[in-house]
């Protein structure tokens, strides 16, 4: 049974590798001889903005330029490395703002590297309501998938062991960091780096269960004690990451500032499109594993009733270990997918931990499919809520929804009704 699980993982990773390889060869064609960063600044009406100052600083290098009549800017660099690209907000025409931050840290190695600054108007929303809703829906689904990848694992672990794992966010961060180390540090191809990260993190998840949680279960540590232990572990790991990698947000060397492809009125980057497809495949594979394979069925049996499952010949500890490996591997890919859009950061997993919990709680603690539904709901809600409330408060809206749902349906959307409290 163990070989079968490994084989399944290998198939998944293989599929992932193939889909992403296809895109590597396509984007390699744009390689230039000199190293540079460039971009186009346009306002929300898609008209170029002229005369915006862009400053680029790096080790032993400072350069600046202004956008030309077509809104384009380009700064040639002496060599690859890490650079900071800053847009001088004071040079923007009145009423135009940068909506995604005026500072970018980019790692460049070869060729021209696009840096995307999106603009927004300070007063009126120029995008039509319909296309705005469509774009937010797509962004919401993307975020929902990231949350789902982490939430399914969290939910499976909760279901089989009863542990409310507050250090699950660190599994997400670890996935992103290992992929960063393999891609930028060791120069691996991005697809291999992601595959490597999934395998390493899955293995580490299994090790974490063996070394920490299994001994605790054996000595009968209570669930509240384990919850507090997971908080301690989370803090420890988070600051260990900070200690090792530092506080900067870094980006993967490959596909750093990919331009979006526009379909109708919405835009999505190719990397996000491919990452999303892989995420959907992985989630379907997990669903198949849960519903159709012997081990998956066993894990659901353990969730239902560990004692009964054990009595009917299921090796409960082994099922739990496999669930940990699966949960950690899924969370690792979630971390990579999330980092492709927001960058790699020592506390990125912790930043979305509450959203993951909101998703799991909404769906019903311990139900894998509930977690999936809850994640999509949370992802959509957090983005679509910006239509009505300020963007900075979008997290508040989702957490408030979670609390309200608990009021009327404590067992969550797909949870089983049971007497609680």
């Amino acid at each position: 049974m163990r070989t079968r699980a490994v084989a399944a993982l290998a198939v998944i990773v293989g599929a992932l590798a193939m889909t992403l390889f296809a895109s590597t060869s396509a984007s390699a064609a744009t390689t230039d001889s000199g190293v540079s960063v460039s971009g186009i600044i346009k306002n929300t009406d898609d008209k170029p903005v002229q005369g915006v100052t862009i400053k680029v600083t790096g080790k032993d290098f400072t350069g600046s330029t202004k956008t030309d009549a077509t809104g384009k800017w380009l700064v040639k660099l002496p060599a690859g490395g890490q650079f900071q690209v800053v847009l001088d907000e004071g040079t923007l025409p009145p009423g135009v703002q940068v909506s995604n931050g005026t500072t970018r840290t980019v790692n460049v190695f070869l060729g021209d590297n696009p840096v995307v600054f999106s603009t927004a108007t300070g007063t009126a929303v120029t995008q039509s309501r319909a296309s705005q809703i469509l774009q937010l829906t797509i962004d919401g689904l993307l975020l929902g998938l990231v949350i789902a990848l982490a939430a399914v694992g969290l939910s499976l672990i909760y279901g089989t062991t009863g542990l409310t794992n507050f250090s699950h966010g660190e599994l997400v961060t670890l996935g992103a960091l290992v992929a960063l180390w393999l891609n930028n540090g060791r120069g691996w191809n991005f697809v291999l780096a992601v595959a490597g990260s999934i395998i390493i993190c899955g293995a580490l998840g299994g090790v974490q269960d063996r070394v920490l949680w299994r001994p605790l279960r054996k000595r009968g540590t209570g669930l509240v004690a384990m919850l507090v232990i997971s908080i301690g572990l989370g803090i420890f790991l988070r600051y260990l990451f900070l200690f090792i990698v530092g506080g900067n947000t870094q980006t993967y060397a490959s596909y750093a500032g990919q331009a979006g492809i526009t379909i109708g009125s919405v835009s999505i980057t190719p990397k996000a499109l491919i990452g999303t497809s892989v995420a959907i495949v992985l989630l379907f594979a997990t669903a198949y594993w849960l519903l159709r394979t012997k081990l998956g069925k066993a894990s659901r049996a353990v969730s239902d009733n560990p004692a009964l499952a054990s009595a009917s010949g299921i090796d409960v500890e082994r099922v739990i270990n496999v669930v940990w490996i699966l949960g950690a591997a899924l969370a690792a890919f979630g971390g990579v997918l999330y980092s492709m859009s927001v960058g790699v950061n020592w506390e990125e997993g912790n930043a979305i931990l509450l959203l993951i919990f909101a998703a799991v709680t909404l769906g019903g603690l311990g139900t894998a499919f509930g977690a999936l539904v809850g994640s999509i709901v949370v992802g959509l809600a957090i983005n679509l809520s910006t239509l009505f409330i300020p963007t900075e408060l979008k997290g508040v809206g989702v957490l408030a929804i979670m609390i309200l749902v608990l009021l009327v349906r404590p067992q969550g959307l797909l949870g089983r009704r049971e007497r609680v409290g």
């Binding site: 669930l223 408060l393 957490l399 009021l407």
Partner: protein
């Protein structure tokens, strides 16, 4: 190496402002977690509500200092009601998730640009503590042995320890009363208490209010000691530090949180300052200066884990009295 200076700072913080704030926060948590078995992970929210009610009351509404203090206490009661109504009927882990989320909601609202007019955004508010310092009887700084307090700090610390003593007295009286026995009964076996005809949810709510109000006193002290409030001072980390303090000292003991807070802050400040000093003088070269502060969090995480695994009753607690299992 100036080990005397490091020791002096550690002693000063170990009985100083930090220890007072976290002793108060942990005394509140002790009522929740230690005596009632409620997993409140939103204690930072109670401190934030009290501190901001004080600041907003004085700066925005122009209330007097004492009216604003009352406003803060009322705010803590209100927050307890808001948190308790949806969660007290649910399992322990639901309460943990909801309270942590509620504290985060409060922090996000406080730091938002949208409400900057009232709460001052991420910079927070200041200029509300004049009344408090104007009645300061201490005119000179205290420099005696390792103890080193400014006149202002001395006043804050004196009031702070008076509040700690008062809170301990309240907890001691409450827990030896019939009410306290019901509360401890709920921790041990909720169903049994319900079978005796007690309204368990109502008792839990009263416990949540009492612990919240005691904890929020720490929020006042934090605001007054800094003479300002900033939203990010009331992040979830504050709650985790309070838990570490409570578990170290011993939950379900009146003096557990106080002992825990003094020892925890002495050790943490000693390690942090010692490392900073060693890095500065070049005795430690494998660490960068900013990494010294991160070591404190590594210690926090490790101590939470190790205490909960090997000694959940802390220094003076009784293992049988700690609510370690979810119901």
């Amino acid at each position: 190496m100036d080990w005397g200076g490091v020791f002096s700072q550690a002693v000063t913080q170990g009985i100083g402002v930090q220890a007072v704030i976290f002793a108060l926060a942990a005394i509140g948590l002790n009522v929740h977690f230690g005596y009632t078995g409620l997993l409140n992970f939103g204690q930072a929210g109670f401190l934030a509500v009290a501190a901001y009610a004080l600041a907003v009351g004085v700066t925005y509404f122009g209330f007097s200092f004492w009216v604003s203090i009352l406003l803060g206490l009322a705010g803590a009661v209100l927050l307890a009601l808001l948190l308790g109504i949806p969660t007290l009927r649910l399992r322990a882990d639901y309460l943990a998730i909801v309270t942590i989320a509620a504290a985060e909601i409060i922090r996000l609202v406080l730091r938002s640009v949208y409400f900057k007019k009232y709460f001052g955004g991420s910079d927070g508010l200041s200029d509300f503590s004049d009344t408090f310092y104007s009645v300061n009887p201490f005119k000179n700084a205290l420099k005696w042995g390792p103890f080193n307090f400014s006149a202002g700090d001395l006043w804050v610390v004196t009031i702070g320890w008076a509040l700690v003593a008062f809170s301990c007295l309240i907890v001691w009286l409450a827990m030896r009363s019939p009410w306290g026995r019901v509360i401890k009964g709920i921790r041990e076996d909720e169903d049994a208490v319900r079978a005796l005809g007690k309204n368990v949810v109502s008792y839990k709510m009263q416990s949540l209010i009492l612990g919240g109000v005691l904890g929020c006193l720490g929020g006042f002290i934090l605001a007054l000691a800094n003479q300002s409030v900033q939203p990010d001072k009331y992040a979830t980390d504050l709650t985790f530090f309070a838990y570490a303090v409570l578990i170290l000292g011993g939950a379900a003991r009146v003096f557990g949180p106080v002992l825990g807070s003094v020892i925890f802050w002495f050790v943490l400040v000693f390690i942090n300052r010692g490392l900073e000093e060693s890095i500065r003088t070049g005795s430690i070269t494998f660490l960068r200066a900013e990494q010294a502060g991160q070591v404190g969090y590594l210690v926090l995480g490790m101590s939470l884990m190790l205490l909960m695994i090997f000694r959940p009753q802390g220094l003076i607690g009784d293992r049988k009295e700690i609510a370690l299992d979810a119901r």
